[in-house]
Symmetry: C2
Subunit: 489 residues, 2 copies
Amino acid sequence: MHLVAIGGSDAGISAALRARELDRGADVTVVVADAYPNFSICGIPYYVSGEVGHWSNLAHRTHADLEATGMTLRLDTLATAIDVAGHRLHLRAADGAETVLPYDKLVVGTGALPAVPPIEGLADPGDPLAAGTRDGLGPADGVHLLHSMGDTFAVMDTLTRHSPASAVVVGAGYIGLEMAEGLTTRGIKVTQIEMADEVLPTVDSELGALVAAELAAHGVEVLTRTTVQGIERAEPGAAGRLRVHAATTAPDGTTTTLSQLADLVLVVTGVRPDSRLAAAAGATLGPRGAIAVNQRMETGLPDVYAAGDCVITHHRLLGTTWLPLGTTAHKQGRVAGENALGGNRTFAGSLGTQVVKIFDAVAARTGLREHEALAAGFTPATSQANPDDHKAYYPGAHPIAIRVTGDTSSGRLLGAQLIGRRGSEVAKRVDTYATAIFHSMTVDGLAELDLSYTPPLGSPWDAVQIAAQTWTRDHQLPAQRHALETARG
Amino acid sequence: MHLVAIGGSDAGISAALRARELDRGADVTVVVADAYPNFSICGIPYYVSGEVGHWSNLAHRTHADLEATGMTLRLDTLATAIDVAGHRLHLRAADGAETVLPYDKLVVGTGALPAVPPIEGLADPGDPLAAGTRDGLGPADGVHLLHSMGDTFAVMDTLTRHSPASAVVVGAGYIGLEMAEGLTTRGIKVTQIEMADEVLPTVDSELGALVAAELAAHGVEVLTRTTVQGIERAEPGAAGRLRVHAATTAPDGTTTTLSQLADLVLVVTGVRPDSRLAAAAGATLGPRGAIAVNQRMETGLPDVYAAGDCVITHHRLLGTTWLPLGTTAHKQGRVAGENALGGNRTFAGSLGTQVVKIFDAVAARTGLREHEALAAGFTPATSQANPDDHKAYYPGAHPIAIRVTGDTSSGRLLGAQLIGRRGSEVAKRVDTYATAIFHSMTVDGLAELDLSYTPPLGSPWDAVQIAAQTWTRDHQLPAQRHALETARG
């Protein structure tokens, strides 16, 4: 039995690890497009910031550790085609040499590619299997995308060679925010540009505004409702400073244009699934062009599984969507690896649980926001509470802003968003909500959970429960009062 | 409708708050034995340490806040007898005046009294309804129990008037450990004496040893396997220094005696339910002499509910036991208050979730330990893992020692114990286990939870899941391998 995994990131490696764990005799090969298997791409901002001393520390496991599990790694090797009928994978080595690798079972974990927004003057490197690139300013000019270790080395090269004093970060999602912090940590003056009304548009703007305040407090200039339209050299023909042209649309619809000088431009506006290899082999695609899979991570092509950022995401509240996250890729890869060996696991589904640290603030979410829940057919309502992280009498208490979304028809908990200080256990408080949603709890039911309490770290009703009780009071107390009156006759 | 709650601590106040929330016309009286309604007795160590500036800050809500909810407080009033047939409560004011208070529904929340161990020379203050006190050394001599605000003021009086340089803390449970820290913070040299093999005997000794190391690192002398036998004045007849006599039993059974001089002795060896009032009225008692109640918090006496430390505890894994915790008292009081008004709530049951901070360490547990699970009829096994709290490449990572107990027959998660550094989100990581046990998850099933991840705060598989996977590998991987082989034929 020869299991081949394509992709050296979370999904492919997780599949290979699980296969080797379950069957110590399994022949497992992982085909890795670059030289960096099992790297934590989530850690890139902390290498750029200087907090991680050497890039090799970003590996979840070293090459040697991986090989010690008994898997074979083929590095710097691009999978160019899947011969489904022949159970063979076509490979191209860095030197251009073409080879064919037979397999019994295949796990496709080709991941994602950085989105390249339509910014005039921005080069599009295309994807590894396509010729369609677009010329323009790129890494050599100090204009960077950031997704792979290769991108990372290019950014570090710009930082080292040109010591930029200023940077524009295009995009204020997770990576954009972390990079704004990382570059600020390096002493670079950062301007962060975001199209949406508020930074961190994956949470409600009431909470995004708190993140914006944290950025401003650390010297980051934040421009929201602003779309970058073009990037050019500040002095035509000469390498060096860059000029970023953008347009800001005010709430009343009026638009003003601006131009911002910078020594470095980082474009981090999201990713798209890298599903071309599987699609060319006949795999069905789903939302956002990601590879369609069932919860066993089967593609429908015989003996071909897929997992990670390249596949659609089974979501416990939404059905199928596309929601690429490293945590999900680990789980899906593990399921694919087990099933490829003849097991019978299903991926239980995502809730889109996420957390990000921005300077001294931590923002997290799980489940659905109100507009997402509405679109999914629920009758949602949202309440915000700002309970302290621990008893106010004990030094160092800070409020956590918590927005709970519940279904007013069923009372079911649908989602939660939190922002608080680092040290307020925000990241693991969102996990309680995630575990509650996993089990379809009602918002009211959260009061029944036996959560821990000591004055320096919590409250007798934890902040998680106080926020839930606020929602219940706002949306269910009248009905509870009425029911009680009725019961009493 | 006149609802009367006896007890101004968590259970009584929670019942009164819930009743007033549900029925704005309800007539609600809370009878409080002292002048300190709704005080956080869990906060006492932080007042003694000096971290809480004024004792009044220990109130969850002020007297005025409570009255603003529309409840009536009768302070310094002892409930002396319940006339169940007459629906009347007999009261005694501080000046000795006796009155009778009619009620329609009664919630008994008389709480707990400090345990008084059989130490020669230690005074037993008895309980408020009993004459049976025992003479001996007490607060005036610098020998203290610690449960009420009155006890707290007595300790503070000793600290202020005598500025003790040394203290013996008898007992190394939650309060004992917090008081050892609090007195150390005040600059007092503390000797902590514990009967059990290790401090914090509510967790496995492997983890208790880590707490002992934390105490030692902060200058606390720890004596385990040591029983205090007597306390006397160091100079007979003269107030001042105290001499504590104790005996240590080595693992081989040999006993050595010791005597320790101290300026202050604190005896904090646990509590016992204060169920005398309800018992005298005919209530049935259960484990440890606590008032028997059903999950609606009904005592069986007509229109008499009870909640908090004075009642038995419905435990989701153990059935009925006695496990007094403030978090539980809040929940039970809320259920009692709602049902007293005609509602239909049930207390969902405790898991004994607890957390304690000891200097820079945080220890937590939920559910059952192995010997508890064994006694409850499970076939448990326990594994320990020591995963980092976040990715090791990001600065400041620390391991969390996590012991997971599962049922080898069903695979069900039964309990978890954790010790880590303050800042490692230990308190809220135990909550994920608690929520998982609440929903009867298997240990293996924890891998399906969508928990949050960012490198500064977690891992793609959270520490909670890494520890669960360690258990699964230790206890289920051979069976998983066998099942896979069988499936493949």
